[in-house]
Structure formats: structure tokens, C-alpha cells
């Protein structure tokens, strides 16, 4: 019984981890500009994330070491430092974006501009980490985040033509606006395959004291949780295709996504979007902040745990105590959260190899995983999707920002 509950909670958590400002904005952009044609990157990104999350859980359950600790053990300090710098820079931008997402939701419901919300949001985020335990953060934010199921309901109510939806799962080349098309592909992949999820999830497995008996549960949670998350993203894309695309609306703000929700869900669409996204972004912000703190603590061999009092994990807590106010600065300056989001998602795709290649090496190490090393399929799938994301990112980011 306890395990069933754990599986259920785990799945809910994964949904919470999947859906955030990045995946919603990029999915809405994709639907509004290219319709169902861009469903395939959501499917590929989700598939890749399923594998990565399953691997992170398995690594921790078997070796009792996190991804970060194992990486420093195996590749040494210089390599760890490189990964640390890249991941902190990119995750910092993603954190700004998530805090911006919460602030935008508050702006939409109150009318008070998002820069005003930067400090209150930072304070709440910090207090939750400072006073909350790992399970409070994991389960609380994700249960509330279930409001985002509204995306699936909304898509369903619009009665999409399911055969055209299905055809979007097959990658095709765009008939026009190729640069924009590939840039959105990269953003979607970056939004789905978030490396911070690996660090967060593998540290969570240690915090929850997983052992080898969790390998099966872990597999179920990863597969179902991420699939649901991916389906909700697809829901956003479908709604955008049916509501925004016919009107010629290009998504460049979060407000347009909120507006679009009021068409399939007239009565509660707006409130569900604002509430659900505020919680989802808060959940993601918590996960990213913890992931960055774990990156420092585990790589440098400090004592760490989100469950202990700040007093006994001083350095670990100091990392997020310093990080959160800094992440509030761009918002205070009034930099558009959606702009930060788009940039950070594309950059995530560009740094994926630095996070994933060493991880894959670890996942094939018999010293660490004994009989539970990766199989041929998981290695191949992850390598292919990662290389594709990286190649597309390297080509399309310069095109997007500096013209052809």
C-alpha cells in the first residue's frame, strides 16, 4: 500500500517537474505558429527525459551516490568545475524565468506589474526552502500543480482532429519560416530535457533513502510521470493550434496563453491557468534552486540535506540564500520573463552534452551499477536525442539572434 502511494506521489511530482513556464510557452509558441507540425519535438523530448530520470533514480538507488558525486569521483575536479559553471549559468537563467512566471501569474490576477512581485516571490521561495522539508516541497507543490490538468481537459473539449494530431508526431520539414521552426524545436527540446531534473531527482532518491528495491517503482514513476507531463504540454500545443493559429496570433507573451485558455474553458480557464502555472513555476523554481545547491554541496563534499535544519547544513543553505536574491534582480529591472525563458530553453539544449555524456559514462559503469547498468536501447535513444538537440541548438541559436 505504501509503495502504491509512493508511486502515485512520484507520478504527480514528475508532472509538476515537467510543466513550467518553459514547456508551456514553447508549446504555445509552436502551436500558434506551426500547429500540430511541432508535436514531435515534445514527444522526443519527453522520451529522452523519461530515460534520463529513470537513470538518475537507478544510479542513486543502486550506488547510493548522486549523479553529481559520481561525476566528480570519476572525472575529477576540473571536469566537475566545467559542468558546474555551465549548469549554474543556464539553471540560473531558468530560475529567473520560473520566478518571472510566478510573478507574471500574480501580475495577471492582480494587475500589479511583475517587477513588484520579484521580491515577495523570492522571499516565499526562500522561506519554503529554509523551513520546508524535502517531501513538503516535492509533494505539496506537485499536488497543487495538478491544476495544470486543465490543459488536457481544454484540448479535449476543443475536439481536435486526432488524425492530424497524430501526424504531427512524425518529424517534417517546415514549408516556410525554417529558422523560426528549428529554433522552436530547440526550445521545446531544451524545455523538456532539463538537466536540473537529473540532479534533483537523483538527490531526491538519496534524501528519500532509496535502495535497489526501488528500481521497479522508479521505472514506473519516470515513465508515467513524464508521459503525463508531455501530454499536458501537447494539450497546450493543441489549444494554441485551434485557438491562436487561426487568428494569426504569434505567442510572445504569457498573457496570450492565459487568454487562449478561456476559449475551451470559459468559466475557470483563466483562474486555472494563473493558479496552476503559479504553482507549477514555483515547484520548478524550488527544484532548480535545490539542484544548484546540490551541485555545489555534493561536488565539493559538503554535508547536505534539504531535510535538516539550516543551522546544521550552513554552506548548503547559504548557496540558495545567495542565489535567490540574485535571480530576482533581472525581474526587478523589468526584463521580460518570456524573453529570459526563450533564451534559457535554447541554451539548455546547447549545454546538454556537457551534462549528459559524463552521465551516460557513469550509467555504464559496472563498478557503480553492478548488474543494473544501461541497456543498448537507453544508451542509443539518449545519445541520439542529445546529439540532435545539440546540433540544432548550435545551428539555430546564432540564426535566431543574429540573422542569417
Amino acid at each position: 500500500m505504501k509503495k502504491i502511494l509512493q508511486v502515485a506521489l512520484g507520478i504527480v511530482t514528475s508532472i509538476g517537474g515537467f510543466l513550467e513556464i518553459g514547456s508551456v510557452t514553447t508549446a504555445a509558441q509552436a502551436g500558434a505558429s506551426f500547429g500540430y507540425q511541432l508535436l514531435w519535438p515534445i514527444a522526443l523530448g519527453t522520451l529522452c527525459l523519461i530515460f534520463l530520470v529513470e537513470m538518475s533514480g537507478r544510479l542513486s538507488a543502486v550506488s547510493k551516490h548522486t549523479v553529481i558525486a559520481a561525476m566528480r569521483d570519476r572525472f575529477g575536479f576540473r571536469f566537475y568545475l566545467l559542468v558546474l559553471i555551465l549548469m549554474v549559468l543556464v539553471s540560473f537563467l531558468v530560475l529567473c524565468a520560473e520566478m518571472g512566471g510566478i510573478s507574471l501569474c500574480l501580475q495577471m490576477s492582480t494587475g500589479l506589474g511583475f517587477p513588484w512581485w520579484a521580491i515577495p516571490v523570492a522571499l516565499v521561495l526562500w522561506l519554503l526552502l529554509w523551513r520546508g522539508t524535502f517531501s513538503v516541497i516535492e509533494n505539496g507543490s506537485s499536488l497543487l500543480g495538478l491544476m495544470t490538468v486543465a490543459f488536457a481537459v481544454g484540448a479535449w473539449k476543443l475536439h481536435p482532429d486526432w488524425s492530424s494530431v497524430a501526424s504531427g508526431l512524425i518529424p517534417t520539414r517546415p514549408s516556410e519560416h525554417a529558422a523560426k521552426y528549428w529554433f522552436i524545436v530547440v526550445s521545446i527540446l531544451g524545455a523538456s530535457i532539463s538537466p536540473y531534473m537529473m540532479y534533483f531527482y537523483s538527490s531526491g532518491a538519496i534524501e528519500d533513502e532509496w535502495d535497489e528495491s526501488y528500481i521497479g517503482i522508479n521505472r514506473v514513476i519516470a515513465a508515467f510521470g513524464m508521459t503525463f507531463g508531455g501530454l499536458l504540454s501537447a494539450g497546450v500545443l493543441i489549444i494554441a493550434t485551434l485557438v491562436l493559429k487561426p487568428k494569426g496570433i504569434d505567442v510572445d507573451s504569457f498573457q496570450q496563453v492565459a487568454l487562449m485558455m478561456t476559449i475551451p474553458l470559459p468559466n475557470w480557464g483563466f483562474e486555472l491557468f494563473v493558479g496552476g502555472m503559479a504553482v507549477a513555476c514555483l515547484g520548478a523554481a524550488l527544484e532548480i534552486t535545490l539542484a544548484i545547491s546540490y551541485l555545489f554541496a555534493q561536488g565539493l563534499g559538503w554535508n547536505w540535506s534539504e531535510n535538516a535544519a539550516p543551522d546544521s547544513e550552513a554552506r548548503f543553505c547559504t548557496v540558495y540564500t545567495l542565489l535567490i536574491p540574485i535571480a530576482a534582480i533581472p525581474l526587478l529591472l523589468g526584463i521580460e520573463p518570456v524573453k529570459i525563458t526563450i533564451l534559457s530553453m535554447a541554451l539548455t539544449a546547447a549545454v546538454l552534452p556537457a551534462a549528459i555524456i559524463p552521465f551516460l559514462v557513469l550509467m555504464n559503469d559496472k563498478d557503480l551499477l553492478a548488474d543494473h547498468t544501461n541497456g543498448f536501447i537507453s544508451n542509443t535513444v539518449v545519445v541520439l536525442i542529445m546529439l540532435m538537440s545539440f546540433a540544432l541548438a548550435v545551428v539555430s541559436i546564432p540564426l535566431q539572434y543574429f540573422g542569417s
Binding site: G111, K247, G248, I249, D250, L259, G403
Partner: protein, 126 residues
Amino acid sequence: MIVTSCGKKPDPADTLSSVASELATASLAGRVWVKHRTPNSFTGNTLRDSRMNIAEQQNILFTEAVPPVDTAQLRASLDHAKDMLATMEKMIARQDIKSFPAALAFFEQDAKKVQDMSDSLEKKQQ
């Protein structure tokens, strides 16, 4: 238009279509507000953002990226649309839901003209 910065030369067709997108957003926001689906402040802010974005794009449209359309007509439509947006914002502020639909209808006429120009330009370019 994901990013229009970093010294990228604006494309007339893209700029026009992004103006049309702003107009469409405002019209959707107006329609939904009449049906009481969104809060006043949100709708007011959305219309104001649209109006300001249009003004910004308009500058580019008539200097750096002049589209091969009837610019006099375009300018008139955009000016008129902006005026209507300002009027609608005031109506929302005083919750004047009765006269709003008429104003919205006026606004949408101009929005449609711009949309048509953008569409025909897109077709021509293909």
C-alpha cells in the same frame, strides 16, 4: 517574433504580421472580457501592452522596413486602431460593458484591414 534585437534587420512582412498578431490579441482579449472571463485589470493591461507594442512596431514599419502595401491606408488603420484601444481601455477602467462591444467592433474593422494586408503580403512572398 521571438526576438527582434541584436542588430537583426527587421523584415517588412514579419513586422507587419507581428503587428497583426498584436491586433488579434487585443481583439481576443476584448471579446473574452465582454463574456466576463477575465479580470478588468488583466484585460486593460493586455490592451495597453498591445497598443504600445503596435506603436513601437509602427516606427519600424514606416522607417526601416516599409512593406510594399498602401502605406497611407496602413497608417490610418493603425492610428485608428490605437485610438480605439485607448478608448476601450478607459471603458474597461470604468467597467462600461455596454458601450464596449460597439468600440470593439470598430477596432476589429481596422484590425481586419491590417490582417488582410499582412496575409496578402505573405502570399505574394511565397
